[in-house]
């Protein structure tokens, strides 16, 4: 096997041309917000349905792991009943899967009641971020279901993140623990404003995120105070719980405080989320 077309195009030129092309694409998407619609359509029809199916298989695998343990114990207890056990436990796996889904949905429903002032739609997480640096994930609803960029996403007991990208039948959500995420927040009890930013370093070490620029001249904010999205945020609807303060430090300027808070949402085991179908009216 010899290289087929050695003389046609030296690969250096191909590299240069493609580099130029992608740099242009980068500037185009930066300057004009161009999102490559024609190619994106392919993604809609090719990747998303498969991801949908695989995610169900994937979560089934993690449930199965727990089940084999129970099976092994049963073998030790009674070998003769092995076949019967297999039969029963496979039935059990299926039931357990269904039940855990039911529980998640019930939780979501309750949550739906607490945040009832916002109209929401449930969605399933079908893929995680494509690398280990950013905490983003893909959900199985998109513009067809009325999802728009900058809609807030909640789950379990609080804020998960914000929609940053929408396709026909999928949407990409940036979670609040993402290193590039900044949320304008306030302390629930005092109404003091602060900025909550995700932090990869803090998150992987202690499961915490950072808050800064807290103006608390009366020293009223203490460990354990609830932090919610603020009413002056341009993207987040007010009053969504983000987490509870774990520690507070005074800044060197003696005017503001910063510290860490623990988010309420279990980001490692996100399966179902709710998207708030209401955009913040920021007037700009």
């Amino acid at each position: 096997m010899k290289r087929r077309s050695r003389t046609a195009f030296p690969s250096k030129y191909v590299l240069a041309v493609l580099t130029l092309l992608f740099v242009m694409l980068l500037f185009a998407s930066y300057a004009t917000g161009y999102e490559g619609e024609p190619l994106r359509t392919i993604c809609n029809y090719v990747f998303v349905p498969m991801q949908n199916g695989l995610e169900i298989v994937g979560s089934a695998i993690s449930v199965n792991n727990n089940d084999t343990k129970t099976k092994e114990q049963l073998i030790a207890e009674n070998e003769q009943l092995q076949e019967r056990v297999d039969e029963l436990s496979s039935a059990l796996t299926k039931l357990r899967l269904e039940q855990s889904e039911l529980e998640t949905l019930q939780e979501l429903y309750e949550l739906d009641q607490t945040y009832s002032s916002y109209k929401t739609t449930g969605a399933r997480v079908i893929a995680r971020g494509s690398n280990n640096w950013f905490q983003t994930f893909t959900i199985d609803k998109g513009s067809d279901d009325g999802i728009k960029i900058n809609m807030n996403v909640i789950a379990g007991s609080g804020l998960v993140g914000i929609v940053t990208d929408v396709g026909k039948n999928y949407a990409v959500v940036q979670s609040v623990i993402d290193d590039t995420s900044n949320v304008s927040a306030m302390i629930d009890s005092t109404g003091d404003h602060c900025i909550v930013s995700g932090d990869l370093e803090l998150m992987s070490e202690n499961n915490m995120i950072r808050f800064t620029d807290l103006e608390d001249s009366d020293d009223e904010v203490e460990v354990g105070s609830a932090v919610v999205t603020s009413n002056i945020s341009s993207k987040y609807v007010p009053g969504l719980l983000i987490g509870y303060i774990t520690d507070i430090d005074g800044d060197t300027n003696h005017l503001t405080k910063s510290g860490r808070l623990t988010p309420v949402v279990d980001f490692k085991h996100l399966q179902d989320v709710l998207v708030i179908l209401q955009l913040k009216e920021s007037g700009d």
Partner: protein, 178 residues
């Protein structure tokens, strides 16, 4: 004849990219070790560049990168550029490549994954004033590289099989021409 081969090549590549992407985002996100999942796009781009040279390495890299761009929710072109260069770099080493030797591919996959990690760190973290490179290196870049190399033991074998299958076909049709 030539067109048929090209179509076959393109379909095989598209299939592999498709599978790599799904594995990375939907399957292995459930099988995380030490908080990281392996990078199948790097495995595919590196292996293919190594087996087929710079041009096809670049083609696969660019395609992988563009798909990642679409699903990253950020500006288009960043990953495409990174993977384009990873593919080109792997293609450079094609002269040293022998099919059944595992050392070079695994080493190169590791190096490429670390390179990829460092570039992402510089672009998205260093430029925002996050200077703790040691932390990111030990907690994200290294674990990812190790896991990726581990997984590539199997993935590389499969990619190699696909390559052999395509090459056998190409050889056969070359003979019929002669």
């Amino acid at each position: 004849m030539d067109a048929k081969k090209t179509v076959k090549l393109i379909f095989s590549l598209a299939g592999m990219i498709f599978i790599a992407f799904l594995l990375q985002t939907s399957v292995f996100s459930h099988l995380k070790l030490a908080g990281v999942s392996p990078n199948f796009m790097v495995i595919l781009t590196t292996s293919w560049g190594l087996m087929r040279g710079r041009k096809q390495g670049m083609a696969v890299g660019a395609a992988c990168g563009l798909i990642l761009d679409f699903f990253s929710g950020s500006y288009l072109g960043v990953y495409a550029l990174i993977f384009l260069y990873l593919g080109y770099l792997s293609g450079v080493f094609r002269k040293l490549f022998f099919g059944d030797d595992l050392k070079l591919p695994l080493l190169l996959i590791g190096v490429n994954d670390i390179l990829y990690g460092v570039v992402i760190y510089v672009l998205y973290f260093l430029l925002r004033g996050k200077y703790a490179f040691g932390f990111y290196f030990m907690n994200v870049i290294m674990p990812e590289a190790v896991y990726t190399i581990l997984v590539s033991l199997f993935a590389y074998y499969l990619i190699h099989k696909v390559n052999q299958w395509l090459e056998k076909d190409e050889k056969r049709s070359n003979h019929s021409l002669v």
